[in-house]
Symmetry: C2
Subunit: 235 residues, 2 copies
DNA sequence: TGTATTTTATTTGTCGACAAGAAAAATGCG
DNA sequence: CGCATTTTTCTTGTCGACAAATAAAATACA
């Protein structure tokens, strides 16, 4: 029965419905539970969450504004595709934001920022030890986002957040189960170097390490992509 | 009568209501017709446009996603304030995007891009001659946005668009009627140099001129701000 | 008169229903 | 059997109404 698969139909606070739907759909999209091209049906969601279509629609508008879904006028709305032909533009922007936010963090960070940053670095370390790839990606994201927050530039923060989200999709598509090797450990060491440079307020060192770290990540992803593509062709 | 002040209540196409409201509100906010802090009333808008609150609400969600309005839960929604204490973060991001997009334009532009860019530069020239400050700002925006489009990086384009919008508000707040001098002409000349560098695919020259142009604009705005602030203090 | 408390009023958030638009299915025709 | 046309079906976009939440007003009380 659908009633057993309908745990969210209980009474909820007044304004929380939209955020609930928004966050769940967002996570499902970024984790590729809803893959690119998947149809997002309003009625279905409304029934699933036990609410009217109005709050569903509002959540969808927010997702569309962030580019996570595309809505065809008068027709279905679907999860947006990953723009493979222009993936290099993603790498370009990601690298620049890594560098800029780390620079600014070295310049403007406050003591409490370092606490948060080290906390996420600790979470990353634990994920590496446990071989928890999902937690690893999440902690990596939070680590860099915390650094960007320490840089205190909301414009960079907004773009960087979008880039990290998109990166989460790409990573989930190409990275898992493709022989990660010991790169997580390399990334951990680079993270340590970043924290040290930020804490020492050494802007140039922060920039240099951030750039190196970005190159490391990008080339990792690119290697995974070519590996995957070659498998496609060989068949 | 309100009926005479209700010209939009005619029959319109099905999906166009939201975009209409969105674009009008957006323009009104960026032109400071709706100043920061102004209350945006759903019922009022619904009556004014002769439509239900539902499409109004959808437009407001989009505007909120772009940071142009802030919605207090269960309470009014208002035009977002300009973050003066952190204006330097705006200048920082604007300068970086000027540089990056111009660099990429020099690298990746196609012939048709140059046509569009020169067209907006022509519009800018006409606005300077006519002393049309509003058209001048608009043409300046379109000019740089066209350059960014030629750079073909949608992530930079999105951030740059937001920055140019915010800049439009700031310019309108401080710039007009404060003794513009002959800076429009200086900017025109710099634009010419940018076009030349882009057309010649000289990346380093494009970067250098874009940076210089950004510094020019930023210092102009800062000068206008301090001028304005001093007047405030003198009273 | 000043303050705490109740009442009213206004605005938002949500709902169910209906109409418009477009794809899919069914029908007609060569 | 293949193609054009009509009908059906399904999804979206919009509407008017109602309930929850909050601010403002009115009232009670010291």
């Amino acid at each position: 029965m659908s009633s057993s698969a309908n745990p969210a139909a209980t009474d909820r606070k007044r304004g929380s419905g939209v955020r609930m739907v928004y966050e769940l759909l967002r996570d499902q999209i970024l984790d590729l539970e809803l893959p690119p091209g998947a149809i997002v049906d309003e009625n279905q969601l409304a029934e699933r969450f036990g609410m009217s279509r109005t709050p569903i629609r509002e959540a969808l508008v927010r997702l569309a504004a962030e580019g996570l879904i595309d809505t065809l006028p008068n027709r279905s709305t679907m999860v947006s595709n990953i723009d493979f032909p222009n993936l290099h533009t993603f790498f370009d922007a990601l690298t620049l934001m890594y560098r800029v936010t780390t620079r600014l963090a070295a310049e403007y960070h406050q003591p409490e920022d370092l606490v948060a940053i080290r906390q996420y670095q600790k979470a990353y370390e634990l994920a590496v030890k446990d071989g928890d790839e999902i937690g690893l990606v999440a902690a990596n994201r939070e680590f860099h986002y915390a650094i960007a927050e320490a840089g205190r530039n909301r414009y960079y923060l907004a773009l960087f957040g979008r880039l990290l989200d998109e990166g989460r999709r790409i990573l989930r598509l190409y990275y898992y189960g493709s022989g990660t090797g010991d790169y997580p450990q390399i990334w951990f060491d680079e993270h340590e170097a970043i924290v040290a440079a930020v804490a020492a307020r050494d802007i140039e060192a922060a920039d240099r390490i951030a750039r190196q770290h970005a190159n490391q990540i990008v080339s990792q992803i690119q290697a995974a992509i070519t590996r995957d593509r070659r498998q496609d062709i060989d068949i």
